[in-house]
Point group: D2
Chain length 142, copies 4
Amino acid sequence: MIQDEIRTRVRYGETDQMGVVYHANYLLYYEMGRTEYMRARGYEYSRLERDGYFLAIVEAQLRYHANTGYDGELIIRTRVGKITRVQVTFHYQVLDAENEVLLSEGLTRLACVDKNLKVKRLPAKMIEALKSPSKTNSITYR
Amino acid sequence: MIQDEIRTRVRYGETDQMGVVYHANYLLYYEMGRTEYMRARGYEYSRLERDGYFLAIVEAQLRYHANTGYDGELIIRTRVGKITRVQVTFHYQVLDAENEVLLSEGLTRLACVDKNLKVKRLPAKMIEALKSPSKTNSITYR
Amino acid sequence: MIQDEIRTRVRYGETDQMGVVYHANYLLYYEMGRTEYMRARGYEYSRLERDGYFLAIVEAQLRYHANTGYDGELIIRTRVGKITRVQVTFHYQVLDAENEVLLSEGLTRLACVDKNLKVKRLPAKMIEALKSPSKTNSITYR
Amino acid sequence: MIQDEIRTRVRYGETDQMGVVYHANYLLYYEMGRTEYMRARGYEYSRLERDGYFLAIVEAQLRYHANTGYDGELIIRTRVGKITRVQVTFHYQVLDAENEVLLSEGLTRLACVDKNLKVKRLPAKMIEALKSPSKTNSITYR
């Protein structure tokens, strides 16, 4: 299993009046993980869009196990799961960097579409990149 | 089945550069549905918090079927599913009000906690409210 | 002075761990005011975009006087200020609907641009609409 | 003039259907600059809150000069302006890291309050920290 890891910090605007990260914002942390996973393999999502492809989210699942608040440092772990001709599933874990407690885990399933949001095959180069190890010095778990 | 319905409109800031609602924002529409469901039964969530209880999201599942962009009018349908002593599951559908196309459907499972985020029993009055029909003139589907 | 008024409620996700609305979210309330101001005059912003024009924010000023939290009902007042050939300034007030306390007031100055973000003249029909009274039954202050 | 610099990247969820960063999100970039400015001087904002103080935004001013979209790398420059016994003003610039084009500049004025949102004097140690140079290896402009 190839798994990448990045770090970020909780912004004040991402918390809510319960004193913790608002649950929807984990989807933004997942997005950061996905973006960096692809960058680390030399096929940025922004390049995909310039080539006329988009990845539309068709499903998201999230579980929440623990909480953190403003300025909490997060570890975001990202790995690729099932890949079909037109879809790819990413799996994520978000941990509290201070104590490695699991805060949230989940997945997003994405479909490849063109600019009119019609389903298209994933570009072969992208599938190849998704399956390859990280090209960066960032930590890769196997 | 008791199901409530409210309407809202997509803000510009809720769209993304794909020209549609950013996927995480459906959790905010679900939240609106949940808030109004409880208000329509005389037990506002804000009152729950004043009583020292909070509902923490422990699970969210979302499916995305179609899209809309800025200023799209949305129908948000909310109903209550499984209720245990400490948890309640809400189910949602978000439709394009113009053509009643289903945009997203999903659920959130919430656990009752105190201000220290320790699990507590759901207040009996809240369970009663959750199971009752709407007290307002808003549309209720059965 | 023509001034429109709409109402909305604070979502949980719009609050922060200080227990109040996160300051950036007032720009979203201002946006709602602006959107409904234009709709009430028969020239929706979404129509403007379909005609190939966009309004890009070039300046924003906000003052914060008081606070409210989750589920607080808001009154959003919007009026149009200076209009030039290429820019329009909107002024806003956000009040707590419960006690009419002023929470925030501010302005946004918007420039008319085409899809390549080049400055264009505001369409004459839009200027006409901006200067006209509301066509709806919503409350209009003079 | 002491000025700190940090970098971040635009998330997809921070863009809007005009294909650029939604204007309200610059306040989140400003917040990141402010947070890191204080951390670099050994007085984290999260520590301030643990000590029973909060900084409430009382004014924000933003100008927008140019745009960037998803994945654009940003330079956020932060410096402290006027400091009174109860308020501090931060000034910000956000630049496109690729070409150093200025995207936005602005300020936020913050008032020191206690947990009941009553105005309090800024802690002496915080004022001292605000006026001191960065203790980190991050770039500091003078």
